[in-house]
């Protein structure tokens, strides 16, 4: 049974449909990426899951219980962190963790706060006011706060976006470790596609409030047919360019380098043709499509579709 089930979730702001009949589920111990361009409906969905925004329609079921009727029980077992959320600037990190811990039914609050302090390396900033923290430190405190109640489900809205690469890497590893140890389920939004590909078991792609895709990051990336090839042409750069034009292959030339976007299945044929035309190259690198390629292509396609719809 899924740990979280969303059925036909809809949010309208007057005539604007921010979330349009969205349904998906999250399994225990699963890390689910929730992707989409800005304004796609990701944060709106997360807010509805946290109960801070009322849905227009639809049902949210956590642990088999309807959110509407079991708000307190459910929020006791879930938590969230968002880079875009402020914390009271006048309070110290210790005070924020302390008062927040009282919102939950935690047995030994002092011990838990001590653990959190260690896990997120908060010792140097523990007695500092939030207003004195850098964006990265604030993100770390936000994340630390989200673990205070041993959550079974974590909703993370771009949790690493303002962290330096080293801390972001630590957080990714930490999330994977928590999942492994405690079977924590995580719904994560991020614009860092490499991060999503690294940590997520599955990805839901949303645009204009609608789910466009729901699959593993690998399968989504595979659904893009175009690969990217870079060649260092030794001899025959002009002829290669001509060849690309004739065969309607998108190409860019930079110095002796030729970059082309070509369907993966056509790569052998393309390389064979170069050989026949006696075009020689020194280096070749073939980049398979990534989740980022999928993201860009899908956003472009769905935006075009939306424009047609509104026209």
């Amino acid at each position: 049974m899924p740990i979280l089930e969303i059925k036909n979730l809809t949010k309208n702001f007057n005539d604007f449909k921010a979330v349009d009949n969205v349904s998906f589920s999250l399994e225990e111990g699963e890390i689910l990426g929730f992707l989409g361009p800005n304004g796609a409906g990701k944060t709106t969905t997360i807010q509805m899951l946290l109960g801070v925004l009322s849905p227009t329609n639809g049902e949210i079921i956590f642990f088999g219980k309807n959110f509407k009727n079991h708000r307190e029980d459910i929020l006791e077992e879930i938590n969230f962190s968002s880079t875009y959320t402020n914390l009271p600037g006048d309070l110290t990190v210790k005070e924020i963790l302390t008062y927040t811990s009282f919102f939950y039914n935690i047995r030994d609050r002092k011990k838990r706060i001590g653990e959190i302090k260690g896990l997120f390396n908060l010792e140097p900033i523990f007695k500092q006011r939030v207003s004195e923290l850098s964006a990265g430190q604030l993100s770390r405190v936000n994340l630390a706060k989200s673990f205070i109640n041993f959550p079974r489900i974590l909703l993370l809205d771009e949790p690493t976006s303002s962290l330096d690469p080293e801390v972001a890497k630590y957080i990714r590893e930490f999330l994977l470790e928590e999942r492994k140890k405690f079977k924590v389920s995580i719904l994560i939004t991020s614009h860092n596609m490499a991060e999503v590909q690294e940590v997520c078991d599955r990805v839901i792609f949303i645009n204009h409030g609608r789910i466009i895709a729901n699959d593993t990051p690998e399968n989504l990336a595979k659904s893009i047919e175009t690969s990217h090839i870079e060649l260092l042409i030794k001899d025959g750069l002009k002829r290669t360019e001509q060849y690309c034009l004739e065969n309607k292959i998108k190409c860019r030339i930079k110095g002796r380098y030729l970059n082309i976007d070509i369907e993966e299945r056509k790569i052998p044929e393309f390389l064979e043709d170069l050989k026949i035309k006696k075009i020689f190259y020194d280096e070749i690198s073939i980049q398979k499509p990534t989740l980022e390629d999928y993201f860009l292509e899908t956003v472009s396609k769905t935006n075009k579709g939306k424009r047609h719809e509104t026209a």
Binding site: K11, F13, Q47, G51, S54, P88, D90, L91, F103, R129
Partner: protein, 261 residues
């Protein structure tokens, strides 16, 4: 309602009090300045008009009791504003904390700060003008409680309006209580108001409270009728203001304003 959650949210506001000098200024500085200025002014008036021997007691006690209402009101409104200024509503309502627990914490804080503030200003009144508030007996206590209740009503109502319409109307936090003060007969009897204002004053529990308090102070008697009417009006207004606050909260949940706040 869970006690640990009420404690948690109360703690959040008490921490604020620890760090924020403005809060200390609210409790000690302004009431002290009011008391000193008005006290000296009334002493001067008394020295000119020998017939008004009780004028100091009337003005000073009015000032002290106005502080009760003010403290009850401002505590609620400022704490709501604090959450909006800090954009912290999402952090507290994405937890199991209930709306009723949040409101309860305001009332607890109001009582704590009232005890501190009232003790301070009463002691200061005694030190400066030899006005002993409790020599008038414990008949005053129910009126003090009713004043606090009136403060809660205004505080909750103003908080609800700010939640609904945003910080562009935040000035109401400081101005609305003063708008009702002319009808509350803080420093004078209702009978000197113009006829229309006397009729308006009938709808304000504060007018019965201040009139009742003056009777306790000057005649040593307690008018039970005034006590009951003001209590009844307070109950109605408290229920109404809580209802309006809940409506405003539902509205921000519907409009997604918690993220903005």
């Amino acid at each position: 309602m869970k006690l640990h959650r009420i404690y948690g949210i109360t703690l959040r506001y008490l921490y604020l009090f620890r760090h924020n000098i403005d809060k200390l200024v609210d409790i000690f500085y302004w009431p002290a300045i009011d008391l000193i200025l008005w006290g000296i002014t009334t002493l001067y008036i008394q020295s000119l008009e020998t017939g008004f021997s009780q004028v100091v007691v009337m003005i000073v006690s009015g000032l002290i009791f106005w502080q009760v209402l003010w403290r009850g009101q401002i505590e609620i409104t400022i704490n709501i504003l604090e959450e909006i200024w800090n954009k912290n509503l999402i952090n507290i309502f994405a937890t199991p904390l209930k709306f009723s627990e949040w409101v309860t914490s305001f009332i607890i804080l109001g009582i704590i700060k009232l005890v501190v503030g009232f003790s301070f200003i009463s002691s200061l009144a005694f030190l400066l003008y030899k006005v002993r508030i409790f020599t008038f007996g414990f008949y005053l206590l129910p009126f003090i409680f009713l004043l606090l209740m009136s403060g809660w009503c205004i505080g909750i109502l103003v908080g609800a309006l700010i939640l609904r319409f945003g910080t562009r109307i935040q000035n109401l936090a400081w101005s609305l209580p003063w708008a009702i003060s002319p009808f509350s007969a803080v420093f004078y009897p209702v009978s000197i108001l113009p006829a229309w204002a006397q009729k308006t004053a009938l709808f304000f529990p504060t007018s019965y409270i201040f009139e009742g308090m003056r009777e306790v102070i000057f005649k040593g008697t307690m008018d039970a009728e005034k006590l009951i009417i003001s209590f009844g009006l307070n109950l109605i207004y408290l229920a109404l203001s809580l209802f309006v606050l809940r409506l405003s909260f539902n509205k921000i949940l519907k409009k997604g304003l918690i993220k903005v706040y």
